[in-house]
Symmetry: D2
Subunit: 127 residues, 4 copies
């Protein structure tokens, strides 16, 4: 994923888990360059991380070949994200058909519920 997506490499995103069942867990480390005023991770970084996590779940499912495209993404910010690190847990809810659907939870250590909740629709394109 980092090879294909320079933004992921630039942000230092790490893939912690990727399961063929259609799950992936990514880590966004703390980085000064991704903070917004107030010292919390900026919205673009959180939405981008979620997008990468879904793509990773798709790649895990298809063995690393997948050209699917984001068709829609809805993000809701639930609590202060803090300065990072953050983890993103992506899970494919509908892994088949022309339109795929996934959910991503953005988690912050020591906060019991997700700090952001994202759903994403992808247009399927086998690699």
């Amino acid at each position: 994923m980092r090879a294909g997506l320079p933004v992921a490499a630039a942000w230092g995103v790490q893939v912690l888990e990727a399961e063929a069942s259609g799950r992936a867990v990514l880590l966004l480390p703390r980085q000064e360059g991704l903070l917004r005023p107030g010292g919390t991770v900026c919205g673009p970084a959180i939405m981008g991380l979620a997008d990468m996590a879904v793509w990773c779940a798709l790649l895990a499912r298809t063995g690393g070949r997948d050209l699917s495209l984001t068709a829609a993404q809805n993000a809701t910010f639930l609590s202060a994200a803090g300065p990072g690190p953050l983890t993103a847990q992506a899970r494919l809810i509908k892994p088949h058909g022309r339109l795929l659907f996934a959910e991503v939870l953005i988690l912050r250590k020591d906060v019991p519920h997700p700090v952001a909740h994202i759903t994403a629709t992808w247009a399927a394109r086998p690699g």
Copy 2:
């Protein structure tokens, strides 16, 4: 905005217009580091650009002081974005109250309709 948000500076985002009525137009130049496989601007860059455009419209409205936070963002990708440049036109639809609401059109030269449509809800926090 670029001072407050390192990501905007890193991406080379330029503010073309910013009106006190609550409008802003931003330019995302073509950048190799923001492309995804296939050679088009990646989703995270488009969603991030939209977020920056709304913040710019808020800053224009409040004279440069504003600590409002993104509460939700919904993005729909309508057509191929291409490699850039892209412009983002943000407009506050509901500029008053606790929750603000804005719409952003992502435009590509020579494509008549927006290549992406984004709506955003922000939690108001005067600067």
Copy 3:
């Protein structure tokens, strides 16, 4: 539309305008059966009205034959809707391709901005 959709008939929804360019304006009259506690039009009625308005805009465009299906709908409630009547202004932003995209403004008399803003994606299926 009322022939095809019993809910529209049951709610007394009226089509005020429908243009082949892909616009439609619908009226939801005041009805006790659609209120929620507090005496305002309930969310289901507003979301349903928006869905009907998009369908009407599609039917206007295709001359009354269209089997397209709602693929996604995002609604944001901006202000108190009151007891009705309400009007819905639908407009196709992307009228071509496999996925169509529309915007609906829900308007209440004497309120300058929309009381609700809805976007909808439809999977195109010619009639």
Copy 4:
């Protein structure tokens, strides 16, 4: 809920489960009046059912007194809903604070994944 919301009563919606932890399961029976062309439950009915399910989960949590309002609802339609019956499983993901957040799965018998996925943000107002 049916006392407060005439639409729920008109549609014959039944509350199958409601837990103080913030969960609710509702049943929408098969009804000719809620079908759309093609013989499947119409979008307005599904979006309305989801809204009712979230309200039920809130009422279960607060012991039947709650004046919270829908602030936003995002619905994605994943598969054919069929003619009904449908069940809606609502769960509060963020049950505290000014803005509450819930997820609703719309399930059809014999289909392994949800036929629709809905997220909702509610503005909290204690009863």
